[in-house]
Symmetry: D2
Subunit: 339 residues, 4 copies
C-alpha cells in the first residue's frame, strides 16, 4: 500500500463530515487519524466510528499534540479558523482550511504569517476552482489561446434563501456568498481586482434589512490587467444552483453552463421540458470537493504547492469588504483603501 497522509479533522459539522467522507472513500492516499469537535456528541462519534476512526477528541488541541498527525482539515465555525491555523502552524501540521480564514484582514495576515514562518502548507477551501466546468474555462483562458481577457462574468445564485438566523450572522452577502465569486474572478482573469462598485436589493426577504444586508447584488470589477468584470448574486434562484462563468477575450468567448440533474427532454404540446440545474453545492460541487482533498493530499505527500494558497484566502475578503463599503456608501471603492 502506498504512503498515506495522516489527517486530523477539526469540526464535525456538515462540511467536516463532507470532507471526512471524501477522504475515507475517495482519497486512497489519505487516512483520517483523528477527529475533534469542541461540541462532540454521540452522532459525531458514531459517524467517525463508522469510518473506522479510533481517535475521537473533544478538543482540537489533542490533534495538534498528536505526533502521528501530519495535516489538519479545519472545518470548525468560521470565527475560529484563523486561531486554529496559527495553532496548527505552531504544531507543524499542514493545513487545509475552509473559507473564509477570517472576516478581519489583520487576523488573516497574522495567520498567513504563522503559516509562512512554520513552513507548512496551507490550502484554502475555494472548492469551485476544482469544478470541471469552471476549471476548463480557466484553463482555456490561461492557455492564452483566446488572447487577453476583456470581460469576466460570473452568475451565482443559491437555490433557496438560507434561514434568517444564518443570514443574520453570516457577515453579509459579500463575505458569505459572493466571496466564492471574488475568488472565481481572480482565478478566471489571472489578475487582481483593483476597484469595485456594488449595488444591491432586497427582493426575497425583508427581514434582512435590519442586518443592513441585501439578498440580491451585482458588483462591477476592474482588474489590474485592464479587464473588467461583473458578478451577480441572488439568495433565491428557485430553479436550483445557478453557477455560470463567462470570459470574453480577444478572439471570442469561453463560458460554461450549469450541470443538469439529467439530460432528459420531454416534448409535448404544452412545451419542451428539460431538467433543472443540480440543486445546491453538495450536488454541483460533489466531485470538486473530492478533487480539492485529493490535491491537498498530493501536495503534502509530494511537497508541491497547492493551487489555492494563503493569498487566495486573503484577497477575496478584501474585495468583499470593498464591495460592502461600496454598497454602504453608494460609490466606487478602490482596493488600495484596504492595503
Amino acid at each position: 500500500m502506498t504512503k498515506q497522509l495522516k489527517i486530523g479533522i477539526i469540526g464535525m459539522g456538515r462540511i467536516g463530515k463532507l470532507h471526512g467522507n471524501n477522504l475515507a472513500f475517495s482519497v486512497p492516499n489519505s487516512k483520517i487519524e483523528a477527529v475533534a469537535d469542541l461540541f462532540l456528541n454521540d452522532e459525531m462519534r458514531a459517524w467517525a466510528q463508522g469510518l473506522g476512526v479510533q481517535k475521537i477528541y473533544n478538543n482540537p488541541a489533542q490533534i495538534f499534540s498528536d505526533p502521528a498527525i501530519e495535516a489538519v482539515f479545519i472545518c470548525s465555525s468560521s470565527e475560529a479558523h484563523a486561531d486554529l491555523i496559527i495553532q496548527a502552524a505552531a504544531a507543524k501540521k499542514h493545513i487545509f482550511c475552509e473559507k473564509p480564514i477570517h472576516t478581519d484582514a489583520d487576523q488573516i495576515r497574522k495567520a498567513l504569517n504563522a503559516v509562512e514562518k512554520a513552513g507548512v502548507k496551507l490550502q484554502v477551501g475555494f472548492v469551485r476552482r476544482f469544478d470541471h466546468n469552471h476549471k476548463k474555462v480557466r484553463d482555456v483562458v490561461a492557455s492564452g489561446q483566446m488572447g487577453a481577457p476583456h470581460i469576466v462574468k460570473v452568475t451565482s445564485r443559491d437555490p433557496e434563501p438560507q434561514s434568517i438566523e444564518y443570514v443574520s450572522t453570516s457577515g453579509g452577502i459579500f463575505l458569505d456568498m459572493m466571496i466564492h465569486d471574488f475568488d472565481m474572478v481572480r482565478y478566471l482573469s489571472g489578475s487582481e481586482v483593483t476597484e469595485v462598485t456594488a449595488i444591491g436589493a432586497i427582493k426575497i426577504d425583508e427581514r434582512i434589512r435590519e442586518f443592513s444586508d441585501v439578498d440580491t447584488a451585482i458588483v462591477l470589477l476592474k482588474f489590474e490587467n485592464g479587464a473588467i468584470g461583473v458578478i451577480d448574486n441572488s439568495r433565491a434562484a428557485r430553479y436550483g444552483y445557478d453557477q455560470r462563468v463567462e470570459v470574453h477575450c480577444d478572439k471570442g468567448c469561453v463560458q460554461d453552463y450549469n450541470d443538469l440533474i439529467d439530460t432528459t427532454i420531454i416534448s409535448t404540446k404544452d412545451g419542451v421540458r428539460s431538467e433543472r440545474p443540480k440543486w445546491f453545492f453538495l450536488e454541483r460541487y460533489n466531485q470538486a470537493f473530492i478533487a480539492e482533498a485529493q490535491e491537498f493530499t498530493a501536495a503534502v505527500l509530494n511537497n508541491t504547492e497547492p493551487s489555492v494558497t494563503g493569498i487566495d484566502g486573503l484577497m477575496p475578503v478584501l474585495i468583499a469588504k470593498a464591495a460592502q463599503k461600496s454598497l454602504d456608501e453608494g460609490r466606487t471603492v478602490k482596493l488600495t483603501e484596504f492595503a
Copy 2:
C-alpha cells in the same frame, strides 16, 4: 385591395433601403409613395425605380408638401432626425424615426413637443423590441407569472469593430451602441432607470483613446421598481452578434439565447462544433425590422398607439449620457442629474 398607407422615405442609405425593401415586400398594407435624399444619386434612383416608386426627390421638403403622403420614415443621418420630426409634424405626417432622435436631450424634447402638438403618431426605431426572442422574454415577465423582476441582464456584442472613422463620430459607445440596450432594459423591466455606474476598457483598438471612447463596457443599473441590472458591451465579439437577455424574478429566470446560423452539429474526435450566432443586426433582426414596419403601418391605419413612442426615444439618450458621465468621472450617476 385593402387600404394602403402611403409612405415617404427620407434617406436612402443602408437603413433607408432596408425599410424600403421591407415595406415593399413584407408590409402589404403599405405603399412607398415617394423617396427623398439630399444626396440623391443614380444608384438610389435605380433602387427606388426597381420598387416601382415614381416620386424620387432630392429634398425631404418635397415629401412634406405632398398631400398624398400620410406617413414618413426618417432614415437620414442622425443629426437631422429631430429637425425632420419637427417638419414632418408640422406637415401632419405620421412619423417612424430611426434612433436616436438626437444626442441632445433638449432637441429631443422639442421634437416630442412638436409631435404632441401636431397630434401625429411617432414610433422610434428600437427594433430589438420586435425580436421574437427578446419579445417573448419581456412578455413572460410582463405577464406577472414569474413575479417581480430582481435582476435584468443584457449581453450585447458586435461581431467586428466598426471603422475608426465611424467610431470617431459615433458619439461614443453609450450613445451609439449601448443605447439599444438601455431601451431593452426599460422594455424588459417595465421600469425606469434611476442610477447608473459605468466602467470601460480599451481592449480592441487603441486609436479610440483619442476620442475619449472605450470599446468594452459594463454598466450597472438601478430601476424605480427596485430591480437592479447590468449590461455588457463589446465592439468585437468575433464569433458573431451576441445578443442575450436574462431577467431573474421571484419565481425563477427567463432568458434567451442567440439565434444560430443553423442547427447543425458536427462531432468528431476533435470535439463538437455547432454554428455561430447570426452575424450582425441585418441577419439577427431581419424579421424584427419587418415587424416594426408592420406595427407602425397598422398603428397609423387603425389609429392605435405604437409600442415604442417618443418617451422611448428620450430616456435611453438620458441614460447614455449618465453612463458617459459615470465613466468620465468614475462615480455613480443618478438620472435626476439630467431631469
Copy 3:
C-alpha cells in the same frame, strides 16, 4: 431592372398561393404573368389581383398557349401533375412541379420523357433540400471531410394527424408523407436505395385501418454505396414538426436539430421550459420554399440545371412503393423488383 422570368401558376390552392406569394415578394427576378385554376373562384381572383396579376384563367390550357409565359408552376391536385407536365413540355414551358409527379411509375416515366424530348427544365418540389439545416448537413457530408457515410437517419413527424378524409385518399403514409424522407436520404447519402424493410403501427387513429394504412412507421434502408439507413415517421408528434437528420460517417457524426419557435428558456422550481419546434411545414420550411423558387427562377434564367430534377421525382415513388410492399408482405423488398 434585370430580366424577369414570366411565370404561370397552375392551381390556386394552398400550395399554389404559397408559391405565388413567394414569387411576388421574395423572388425579384420573377414575374407572375398569369394564374389558372379549373375551379376558379372569387377568392382566388382577389388573391391574384392583390398581387397585381392581370391574366386570371380558369383553364391551364390558356397558360400553355400564352407565348409570353416562359415557365409554369404546377400546383394542381397531384393526379393531374404528370399530364400537366406533358402539356407544359409540349408548349416548351419550363416546369416547376409539386411532388409527387404521379403515384404510378410509368406515368412518371412518360412525363420525364416528354420533358427530355422538349428540352425544357423540370424541377420537382422537394423543398426540404433547401432547408438551411438539412442542406448544411448534406454539404458537410458531400464535401468528403467526414469520410464515407455509414448510417443515415431521418426523423420526420407531423404535429397533428391529417383528417381521415385526407388520409383515405393520400396514397398511404409512404407515398404521401415518407416520400419526402426518401428524397432526403438520397440527398444526404448521395446514393441510391437498393432495399427496404418497413414496419408500421396504428397508434393514432384506428379508422385508417380500413384503408390498409398505418400512422406510425419505420423503414430500414440499404444504399448502393454500402451505407445503411433508417427513417421514422409519425402522423402525430403533438409537440410540433419534428424534422431531424443525422449522418454517421468515418470520422464522426453530422446532424441537425429542429428550429424552435424562439430561443427563450424559463427556469422555475417546476423545471426548465424551452420552446417547441416550429409547428408545421409552412413555418419550418418557409425560407426553403422561397429558396427553391429562387433556384428554379435562376436555373431557367441562367440556363443551369436545377438541383432537383426528374429522376428525383421518380426514385422516391419507387422507394415508397417498395416500402408499401414490404409492409404488406412482411418482408424485405429490393428496389430491382420495380425496375
Copy 4:
C-alpha cells in the same frame, strides 16, 4: 455500524475490479469478504490487499464453500457465467452476474432453473438501466403520463473499435454489443420484442468479414404492445460514447442526450466548440455501476426483488440470436422461432 452484506468476487479482470472498488468505496453496507480468480496473480493480490480483503483465492469453489459469504459477484469470462451461477445457487449464495449469462439459451435456462430452485436472488449486470438519464426516460414512460409508446429508438455507438482479437471471439455485434440495447428497448417499452429485422455493414474494419460479423448495424423491432422500434450501432463513433434513447408516445416524446465531459463552450470566428460525450462506458456509466451494486446489496439485505432478474438475462440473448439470423438470411425473424 449497520449490517453489511458479505460478498465474494469471482474474477479480478477489469470488470471485477470495477465492482470491487465500487463495493469498497461507494456501497457502505457491503463488505468484500473474499476474492477469487483462477488465474490469480500478484497484481490482483495487491489490488485486493489494498482494499483490505483477507481471503484471496485462486478457485471460486473456495468462495462457494465459505459460509461467511452471503453473495457473489460473477465477473469471470463470459463462458463460465452459467456454470458459476449454478454452483453459486447450489451453495445458496445470492448472485450478481455480469452479462451475458451465456450465449446459449438452453444454458441460460438451466442456470435460471437452478436459481429458482435454490430460492436465491439473481441480478444481471445490465448496468444502463441504472443510468440517471435512461432511467428517467423509462420512469416518465412507465408513469403513463405520456400515454402509450409508439416508437422506441436507441442509438449506441462505441468510441473506437475493439481489437480484431476481441471482436473475433465476441460472438458478433448483436450478442456482444447490441445486447445492451435489446435490454434497453425492453426496459423503455415495458414490453417484449416479437420480431426483428437486421441490416449491417462493414464500414470500419474489413478484417471482421471473415468472422461473418459487421461493425455497423441497424435493427427494426416490433413489440407485443404494438409499439415499433429501432436500434443503431457502430463500433466506431470516433467522437465518444454515443448513448441516446428516445420514446415517442401518444402525447409526445421523451428522450435523453449524452452526458458531456464538461459544459464549456468556446466561441470564435471559426465556430462554436463544445465538449464531446464522455469517452466510454467507464466514464459514462460510472455512477450506474455504483447504483446497480447498491441496488443488489439492498435487495439482498432487505429481501426485495432486484429490478433486473433472470428473465432479463435470457430475453436479450434470444433477440440477439434472432437479429443474427435476420442478418444472415436477409429476412424478418419472429422471436417465436426461438421459443
